[in-house]
């Protein structure tokens, strides 16, 4: 069950990811990314991380990407016209990415800990309350900092996007 779901959703996720990188129209890119995020959430579910999956959908797909879509529409971005392909950039990019993947696979092969089967969970997943406990107890300080971050970001967005400041 887990395996099937994993294969379905992860391959979909990567396929949509490929769409983001290759499609020309920004709207299609954005929609691919949304789909990729939703598939990612499904993969999270196969890992028993329900809360994270939902947050991923809620924030990444439901808020962030809508914002993207908005901006694309607002700016009326058209599909990228075929500009001159810079061979050097293409080649460099491909090489960097390939070497990255090769490095990763070497890292994965080097240790047996990556090929263990999935461990069994003792209790039914209580991830919401556990994350809540972790967040508000032991991670209180970082949580406060995130609060400051959001405050600053709010101020900043108002400053940057108002047509004329009052």
């Amino acid at each position: 069950m887990q395996l099937t779901l994993f294969w379905i959703f992860s391959s979909l996720m990567i396929a949509f990811g490929l769409g983001v990188v290759t499609l020309r129209s920004p709207i299609s890119c954005a929609m691919c990314l949304v789909s990729s995020f939703i598939c990612l959430a499904a993969v999270f579910v196969t890992l028993d991380a329900f809360f994270i999956a939902i947050v991923q959908v809620l924030v990444a797909a439901g808020a962030v990407m809508v914002l993207f879509l908005f901006i694309i529409m607002l700016l009326n971005l058209q599909a990228e016209e075929c500009r001159r392909v810079k061979l050097g950039v293409m080649l460099g990019g491909t090489v960097v990415v390939l070497s990255f993947v090769v490095l990763l696979s070497q890292a994965l092969e080097s240790s047996p800990q990556f090929s263990k089967p999935i461990p069994v969970l003792m209790a039914p997943s209580q991830d919401v309350s556990m994350i809540g406990m972790t967040l508000f107890h032991s991670f209180n300080l970082p949580f406060q900092i995130v609060g400051v971050l959001l405050l600053v970001a709010t101020v900043g967005v108002v400053l940057l996007s108002r047509r004329t400041l009052r």
């Binding site: 329900f50 797909a61 919401v128």
Partner: protein, 400 residues
């Protein structure tokens, strides 16, 4: 055993063993889960589709009655077959795509608009249990968040419809609608937090269970442990009320009631209903984001909108009005009849809320767009946050 023996003689042994293993598969826990879930989904879908079409009908009738008219009353008795006729008309009309529209997204959008509200229904406990099967399609421990997440997804259909029509009015409607939905999602989500704090769970079933024990979220006084017997003894009744009432319970009612109001009003904005139907403001935008749609595309939008309304009403019922529970009515473990009664109770509550939706629609005029956004950002958002603090204070510092 006899029966199975009797049946088995009609089949070859190989076929019989196949049938038997299929049956075992059917009754194994996983198999059982799967087919009951499918059945529940089908059941719910049927109910919802019926409900949607009759909501549309009700909308027309109620609006007529409020305006001293009669409304559709020709097709069938009192016009009850009107939805069927409407559906037939929509299906048979020409499905038209404007030339300058982006075909793929234009077609996709109408489907996308339909899916999320239906998905929301998946976690709603629409009944207690029937034959031991819980009447929730999926009992998720993040149910409430799931509802919010899915409703946040529903923006896409609208935005895409607006954009892909490649026309002014749909575009404006799409943008308006999505920004409105995003804005009100905040107060929608924040207004629920007092409930989560009180119940300590995001699971909708558990929230309903809590309400059965401690009383509906919008009821400050609740006779705890009341049964048919206690009704007859005034002292026991008093005792039940005393047990269900504490200072905290009374005080927490204030933030909960504010939550209820916030959630309710935000729901109007979230489902693009009057007085917040700016995206479809006919006078300004013709039909908003679905201006260019016809036939089935249009029907899907309509369906989506009303499903969203029903789902919203279901969420309100579940979170604030005790879900399928009604005082003194036992749950489904006491027999299938009570299970059915519970389902009926749930939908009755939903229908009452739907009525309020319609009632409000024909009472209150439309807001101006800037007023709408201001209301969302300057008032509801702050109120919701303050409400959370209030609830937190009460829960922490007032004795249970």
């Amino acid at each position: 055993m006899d029966v199975s023996n009797f049946i088995s003689q009609f089949f070859s042994p190989a076929a019989w063993s196949l049938i038997k293993s299929l049956g075992e598969c059917f009754m194994s826990p996983t198999g059982f889960l799967i087919w009951t879930t499918l059945l529940k989904s089908a059941l719910l879908l049927v109910i919802i589709l019926g409900l949607v079409s009759y909501t549309v009908y009700a909308e027309r009738r109620v609006s007529a009655l409020i305006q001293d008219r009669l409304g559709p009353n020709r097709v069938g008795w009192q016009g009850l077959l009107q939805p069927v006729a409407d559906a037939a008309k929509l299906l048979l009309k020409e499905n038209f795509t404007p030339k300058s529209a982006n075909y793929f997204y234009f077609r996709l959008a109408s489907k996308l608009a339909m899916v999320p509200p239906v998905l929301v229904l998946g976690v709603l406990p629409f009944g207690s249990s029937l034959f031991g099967v819980p009447m929730t399609i999926a009992s998720v421990n993040v149910g409430a968040l799931y509802v919010l997440a899915i409703s946040s997804i529903s923006v896409y259909g609208i935005v895409l419809a607006g954009w892909s029509s490649n026309s002014k009015y749909p575009f404006l409607g799409g943008i308006r609608s999505s920004s409105q939905m995003i804005s009100y999602e905040l107060s929608l989500a924040l207004s629920l937090i007092p409930i989560f704090m009180l119940v300590g769970s995001l699971n909708l079933n558990q929230i309903v269970q809590y309400q059965i024990v401690h009383g509906w979220m919008i009821a400050p006084f609740w006779p705890q442990g009341m049964s048919l017997d206690t009704l007859l003894h005034p002292l026991a009744l008093l005792e039940a009320f005393r047990a269900g009432c504490s200072l905290q319970r009374v005080l927490i009612w204030i933030p909960l009631f504010i939550s209820f109001i916030l959630f309710f009003i935000s729901m109007f904005a979230e489902t693009n209903r009057l007085p917040f139907d700016l995206p479809e403001a006919e006078q300004e935008l013709i039909g908003g984001y679905h201006t260019e749609y016809s036939s089935m595309g249009f029907a899907l939008f309509f369906l989506g909108e009303y499903t969203a309304m029903i789902a919203g009403a279901g969420v309100i019922t579940t979170l604030f009005l005790g879900g399928w529970s009604l005082p003194l009515v036992p749950d489904g473990s006491h027999g299938w009849f009570w299970g059915l009664v519970n389902i009926a109770v749930f939908f009755a509550k939903v229908i009452v809320i739907l009525f309020v939706f319609i009632w409000v629609r024909w009472t209150i005029p439309r807001f101006r767009y800037d007023q709408l956004m201001k209301l969302g950002w300057y008032f509801f958002f702050e109120l919701a946050v303050a409400n959370i603090f209030l609830a937190a204070l009460i829960l922490t510092y007032v004795k249970r």
